[in-house]
């Protein structure tokens, strides 16, 4: 997004993911676009249910096809993914694009050894022999920092600690040197020191292989650490995007601002309560009219003519920077100036 001369490796255009449920149609993702360059990291931020994970499952084609309607375009390295056959997707998954899931204990098979789970991915995509694949699995485990990998390769996931499981998961996702890695809150369940190690590991691997990473999180601290660009999602839509510095230092959307000012920081006075965003995330079954954030927005009445509750603000993007809000640039400059900026350090 920052340099326009390079062809994007992953390009998502106007992606819509709708589920039909008994109660009606859930618009989990409703018109999302972004680009990702090789070797870059896009951080996707948002509350639970904002459509972050659904977006990425749809990119991999892992949604329930019977109950999901998908529109838009997802192009990975000149290959359209949404219309690709299951067989083509199987060739790409785990190979060219792979995913690290949040809960490694639940996401690794309890019935197969770590080594088996890593090597079967490798064998599937490279046709390597059993012993080659095993050697590769040991090598991957060593690379992600598992001690004694030649022994631990035969362990089951329940014999690993939480941090080691997440590392094994990363080893599994990276075994075929994928060009696109989607990490869905890979560090959320881990304690902070392990989290830092995992982040460093991902950064190292990205430097080594030039992998493009989509990093999904609700933790702005993590975003500040790893992302190049940031996309903020709310109610299945992108409300703001830009470089990490732009979004974290000078947010242009009240929701981003709310997220930033609800974060505790070291210089935050202990006796002043944190400042959460009021209300709760919108129902995607029956989303609010107009701007989906307006029921929770403290600035909604500042916009003339009640526009916020009647009209969806368009996302206007120039040079990869944009936000979807009815406030004028002057209003934002006035209201936001004293609140933002703490997280970008």
């Amino acid at each position: 997004m920052t340099s326009t001369d390079q062809q994007p490796f992953l390009s998502v255009r106007d992606l819509k993911v709708h589920f039909s449920t008994e109660d009606g149609i859930v618009k989990a993702v409703d018109g999302l676009s972004f680009d990702l360059l090789k070797g870059k990291t896009l951080g996707i931020v948002g509350e639970s249910g904002s459509g972050k994970s659904v977006t990425n499952l749809a990119i991999l084609g892992l949604h329930d096809r019977d109950r999901t309607a998908i529109e838009g375009e997802v192009v990975l390295d000149d290959k359209e993914l949404l219309t690709a056959s299951e067989r083509e997707l199987e060739r790409l998954r785990g190979n060219k694009m792979s995913m690290i899931f949040q809960d490694a204990l639940a996401s690794l098979s309890p019935y197969h050894t770590i080594g088996k789970q890593i090597s079967e991915t490798y064998r599937k995509h490279t046709g390597a022999s059993k012993s080659q694949a095993r050697a590769r699995a040991i090598e991957m485990l060593r690379r992600v920092g598992i001690p004694q990998p030649e022994v631990r390769v035969d362990d089951y996931p329940h014999q690993f600690s939480g941090g080691m499981r997440q590392r094994a998961m990363i080893a599994m996702a990276l075994v075929c040197d994928p060009e696109l890695l989607i990490a869905d809150e890979p560090t959320t369940a881990l304690d902070v020191t392990v989290q830092a190690q995992i982040m460093d590991l991902l950064k190292d691997l990205q430097q080594e292989f030039g992998t493009a990473i989509i990093f999904i999180t609700h933790d702005l601290g993590v975003i500040a650490d790893i992302a190049d660009d940031v996309l903020v999602m709310y109610g299945g839509r992108c409300v703001e995007r830009g470089t990490k510095k732009e979004v974290l230092r000078s947010p242009q959307h009240p929701y981003t601002l709310g997220l930033l000012s609800s974060m505790p920081s070291l210089d935050h006075p202990v006796d002043v309560p944190l400042n959460p965003i009021p209300g709760s995330p919108p129902s995607l079954l029956n989303p609010p009219t107009g701007c989906r954030f307006h029921p929770r927005c403290t600035f909604a009445e500042k916009v003339e003519g009640g526009l916020c509750s009647t009209e969806q603000p368009p996302l206007e993007v120039t040079n990869g920077r944009g936000s979807a809000c009815h406030l004028t640039a002057d209003q934002r400059a006035e209201y936001f100036s004293d609140l933002a900026g703490s997280a970008a350090n």
Binding site: E90, L92, F101, S107, L108, S109, P110, E120, T121, K124
Partner: protein
Amino acid sequence: MFRFLVRRVTGALVILLIISAITFWLFYAVPRDPAMMSCGKNCTPENLAQIRKNLGIDHSIPVQYWYWLKGVFAGRDYAGYGYCDAPCFGYSFANNVPVFDTIMDRLPTTLSLAFGAAAVFLVLGVGAGMLAALKQGKFLDKAASSASLLGSSLQIYFVGYIAMYYFVAQLGWLDQPSWTPFTDDPVAWFSGLLLPWLVLAIIFTANYTRMTRSQLVEQLSEDYVRTARAKGLSRANVFFRFAWRGAMGPIVTVFGIDLGTLIGGAIITEQTFSLPGIGRLAVKSVDQSDLPMLLGVTILAAGAIVFFNIIVDAVYALIDPRIRLA
């Protein structure tokens, strides 16, 4: 795995010992005097005392149990009735035969009935359940679910007689249920048991269909199944090697219990189809107040359940490495 099995088997033996002691005590606490029954019409007190002595029931119950237990390992001489070889599980005074011999005589019928039916209902039930899980919410799923609801609400003595009426008497498609030892004539063995197998299968299949379907539906929505798909593994591979692996555990458990129960005596089935198995032996022994025989059958039934429990535990440990204890 070996230590795991040793521990389980040892535990099972202890359980069997306790079951036999309790059963023994219960049965002999019943105020029915076997000596009186064996004594006949012209019974004098002297005769009665002699018979009691011969039967070994002139001792207290713990001592009798000790003799009984000793007989299991060393054999036992019932003076005036005959010698009962080890393993001696008692002597049927009503029929003048060792209990063990009669049970061994009846067991092939019950085993044939149980294993034959189990093979049918396991294959049909699991197969239908898998199809239903693959076609969730579609016609096939609904058909399988409705059929299984219908099947599970039927009773053997109802389906059994109807099936015999139509398929044997009216249409003549199947043979009248009967027992021929496999070693005598395999074809007659098969045709004589086919109807009982199918009828038992109708009733049991339903349970396995529903269980397989619900287990698979649950497993298919597990995170690790999604991960396997995200690695690029094919649907079929993920279905059988991941989801089915996870779904197997509860099915194996119920299957073990069902097999144990069937071998302990499918009383209603054997009665319905007039098959001379353990179940009918139990009914007959109750009629005759043949306590030693009933004790033997009870212990066999308990033994079958305990045995299949060990098998289930071992299979479970093979399926799920988290169960394996060091």
